[in-house]
């Protein structure tokens, strides 16, 4: 409707915004315009200030310098609720669900429906929740507590929660970091629907390909400053990267052939029961072998059992696993995490906030957490060695931190992920299990991590990597397992695997 006078008017404007955290600027003089009926992509490296900017717009950080204008009027939201009432809704990068409450209870938290008696109207809420979930093809009962959901499913619930509100401006901070292509397509369908209804969408992602598919407009942040914006049409991949990092990325990652014939891990008939329901198999009769220097990729749709394979090997389902796991030719009974670690296994878990980090501890302390013995003598921690260890990985992974004493919880999402990776690399394992290792990591750092993974393989480490990003799997893996509905649908070698073959296998239904 605004188009009548031919110049589209932005629904939301950010003018000259700066924000500091104890004297350190996360944003400086940033400008941004968001238009109705468009998807605006915000891009930038880890720690560039994207999430901070979004938190300012949506009222999470009420204190800042500069102005936010909604429909040309200055607004100052004191909290996300106020923003929500004016139609500005955010889906946060870090998951924010209440673990013990059900999906329905989470969706309607703060906006509960009541019946005439003033009691909660569960029937109505569940019905609406179910409809919403099926729109997202999430085939789970809405009364499931969210702590029983995988990270990707939780992300979909977060999305559902935002859809429940009537939004004029919908901000999505890395909504697809933990979901696979299938779910991404669904999300895009929904985004297109909303866009055609005139909703303004702000979309943050490190997956540039996604942006070319869904975004109309882009805006780049680098080190807290606006680096430019424009139409997606006409801009190239390389130009965006140039704007983001300020230099060309020689992104030519070359995989070396490092796989040996020495077997390091053999998994036979691995079966994992759902601890909540013994008849539901999370992993059903999966067998494979891993060699020294091999990178084994595992892919499949969400809920196919990828994470559970890694978790079972790492000893997280002590009473619900059957099958045989042998390491270096010897059968090993893994009853708890410590057995796995003692056998030289490390797991970079999928949920960094819940499983990976002690958020109120420093970067250095988190990094050394699983390898304290190495840096201690007689049980006394050598602080100097600890610092060196963490500095080493900060450099290796180009983690953006103020110092190694900085609290991990205050890092940007991608940089937190790098600390989790560092923690496990520091243990120098024989077998490294990686669950979505590059979740939320920017393009530049991603290729650094690929190089590192490759280097570790060259040193003889056996590596298993679960990832929702097929290009990543294809680029790194020597062999690829495709899981579908808890079963092994295909085992492919590097030479035979293509995206099409993998997708076809992943979609294979259980007969």
């Amino acid at each position: 409707m605004e188009k009548q006078n031919n110049i589209p008017r932005p629904v939301l404007e950010v003018r000259n915004i700066s924000k500091d955290f104890s004297g350190v600027y996360a944003l400086q003089n940033v400008d941004l315009e968001i238009f109705p009926g468009e998807v605006t992509a915000i891009i930038g490296e880890n720690g560039a200030g994207k999430s901070t900017l979004m938190k300012i717009i949506s009222g999470v950080y009420p204190e800042y310098e500069g102005d936010v204008l909604l429909n040309s009027e200055k607004v100052a939201f004191n909290n996300p609720k106020e923003a929500g009432e004016q139609g500005v809704v955010i889906i946060h990068q870090e998951l924010n669900l209440v673990p013990h409450l059900s999906i329905t209870e989470n969706l309607f938290l703060g906006i509960e429906k009541t019946n005439r008696l003033g009691l909660l109207d569960y029937a109505a809420m569940n019905k609406q929740a179910k409809a919403l979930l099926s729109r997202l093809h999430l085939d789970i009962s809405p009364s499931t507590p969210v702590n029983q959901l995988r990270v990707g499913q939780q992300q979909l619930v977060e999305i559902a929660k935002a859809l429940l509100l009537d939004s004029k401006v919908l901000i999505m901070d890395e909504p697809t970091s933990a979901i696979s292509d299938q779910e991404v397509e669904l999300l895009f369908k929904i985004i297109r629907e909303l866009r055609s209804k005139g909703v303004a969408i702000v979309y943050i992602s490190h997956k540039l390909n996604e942006l070319f598919e869904i975004a109309d407009r882009y805006s780049v942040l680098r080190d807290g400053r606006s680096m430019g914006s424009g139409q997606m049409k006409g801009v190239t991949h390389d130009q965006l990267i140039q704007l983001m990092v300020g230099r060309d990325l020689t992104n030519s990652f070359q995989k070396a052939n490092t796989m040996s014939t020495t077997e390091v891990l053999r998994v036979e008939n691995l079966t994992v029961q759902n601890p909540q329901n013994k008849n539901d198999l999370l992993v059903d009769d999966v067998s494979f072998t891993l060699h020294e220097g091999e990178i084994l990729g595992i892919c499949g749709l969400m809920g196919a059992g990828r994470t559970e394979v890694l978790e079972a090997i790492f000893g997280l389902y002590p009473k619900h696993v059957s099958g045989k796991i042998s390491i270096g030719g010897k059968e090993l009974k893994i009853r708890r995490v410590n057995d796995a670690i003692a056998a030289g296994i490390a797991l970079v878990p999928e949920d960094r906030k819940l499983q990976g980090l002690v958020l109120n501890m420093s970067v250095a302390k988190n990094t050394s957490m699983a390898s304290l013995e190495q840096i201690s003598s007689f049980s006394f921690i050598r602080k100097k060695k600890e610092e060196e260890l963490s500095e080493l990985f900060i450099k290796k992974l180009s983690t953006k931190v103020a110092s190694s004493n900085q609290t991990v919880g205050k890092l940007s999402g991608g940089n937190q992920q790098k600390v989790v990776i560092a923690k496990w690399l520091a243990t120098n394992p024989r077998i490294l299990l990686l669950d979505e290792p590059t979740r939320g990591i920017d393009v530049g750092a991603k290729s650094e991590i690929y190089r590192l993974i490759n280097e570790l393989a060259a040193q003889g480490m056996g590596i298993i990597m679960v990832s929702s990003e097929l290009p990543e799997i294809l680029a790194l893996s020597d062999n690829i397992l495709v899981l579908s509905e808890s079963r092994l649908a295909a085992t492919l070698s590097r030479t035979e695997a293509t995206e099409e073959i993998i997708m076809k296998a992943a979609l294979k239904e259980k007969e």
């Binding site: 104890s22 004297g23 790492f314 997280l316 995490v337 410590n338 670690i341 797991l347 878990p349 819940l354 499983q355 990976g356 980090l357 002690v358 958020l359 109120n360 501890m361 302390k365 957490m369 699983a370 304290l372 013995e373 201690s376 049980s379 006394f380 921690i381 923690k423």
Partner: protein, 324 residues
């Protein structure tokens, strides 16, 4: 920048500032406050609370709580006194064993350790919530104390025993020495050792700690055992000072101890806090108690005021952590 660092320093040293303010105010209000006798008196009085609160801090850092310290203190004191005075007599076997002071002290401390270990055992093995497990122990240990003493004080323990609670060494009261050594050891434990780091990690995020290979059950059991042992030592000092083991000794000590920990800035949800903070918390409570007595405030009002101080401390703490 400058204002920020000033503010941060104010936050960092808030309890020291509060302490100083209290001391200045009290020395203006009462000329009996800032005398050597009163100073040592306060120090001696708080030393037992400091000792117990060190253990409490470790427990709370793991995200737990220990309500049983007061009762464990009583039982350990009674066991020490009983061993010292009566020894162990087995009439059937016609056997009598007398104990030296050292034997009795070890007996008392071990009693505390054992009960603390039992707390840790029920909490980690049967997943009993710490609040419930130690609440049960509060009753159990008090009951055992009554059984052991028959409900009567055990008195007349000799000069050597009395020295522990009332003696002086190099111009400093013995209990102050003991608490200082324990505080020092605990500071080293929390800051320099793997066990200390593990304690913080468990309280900060138990799942992440478990996935990092920390032996959660073992660490928790050790922590509750330490808390029990320290309550035992506290019991010995109390018994020594009074030259008698009272069956109702240590009643309500858990509350003073939790108050010291909380005022000292340790978060009840675990993972955040320091031993020195707790020492400051214990000092604040101790000086407050002393000052209110010196100012002739009625005991009823003393309790009300103490309650409000605890609230105030926590509110300030919350406000500050939001500020960060």
């Amino acid at each position: 920048m400058n204002t920020v660092t000033l503010k941060q320093n104010l936050i960092k040293f808030q309890s020291i500032i509060a302490l100083a303010a209290m001391c200045i105010a009290l020395s203006l209000l009462s000329d009996r406050f800032l005398t050597p006798e009163n100073t040592w008196n306060v120090m001696r009085q708080i030393s037992v609370n400091v000792i117990i609160s060190v253990g409490m801090t470790l427990v709370i850092l793991t995200g737990g709580i220990d309500l049983s310290v007061g009762s464990i203190l009583a039982l350990a004191g009674a066991v020490t006194a009983g061993m010292l005075k009566f020894g162990a007599e087995f009439t059937d076997a016609n056997l009598y064993i007398g104990f030296t002071l050292l034997g009795a002290l070890i007996g008392g401390t071990l009693t505390g350790t054992l009960l603390g270990w039992f707390n840790g055992f029920t909490i980690t093995r049967f997943k009993v919530p710490p609040f419930v497990a130690t609440l049960a122990m509060l009753t159990i240990a008090r009951g055992l104390t009554m059984l052991w003493t028959g409900g009567f004080p055990i008195t007349g323990l000799g000069d050597n025993m009395a020295f522990i609670g009332t003696g002086w060494l190099l111009g400093i009261p013995m209990p102050v020495w003991i608490s200082a050594i324990i505080v020092l050891a605990a500071v080293v434990l929390t800051n320099q050792t793997m066990l200390g780091r593990h304690i913080y990690a468990i309280g900060g995020n138990e799942t992440a700690a478990r996935l990092s290979g920390l032996k959660i059950k073992r660490i928790k059991t050790i922590v509750y055992s330490i808390a029990g042992a320290l309550a035992g030592i506290g019991g010995i000092i109390v018994t020594s000072r009074l030259d008698s083991a009272q069956p109702n000794a240590g009643f309500g000590f858990e509350l003073d101890s939790i108050a010291a920990v909380v005022i000292g800035g340790t978060s009840l949800s675990g993972g955040k806090g320091t031993i020195m903070g707790t020492v400051q918390g214990a000092l604040i409570i101790g000086i407050l108690n002393n000052g209110l007595v010196l100012l002739n405030v009625s005991p009823f009002w003393q309790q009300v005021i103490k309650g409000f101080v605890i609230l105030l401390a926590v509110v300030i703490e919350k406000f500050n952590s939001k500020e960060e």
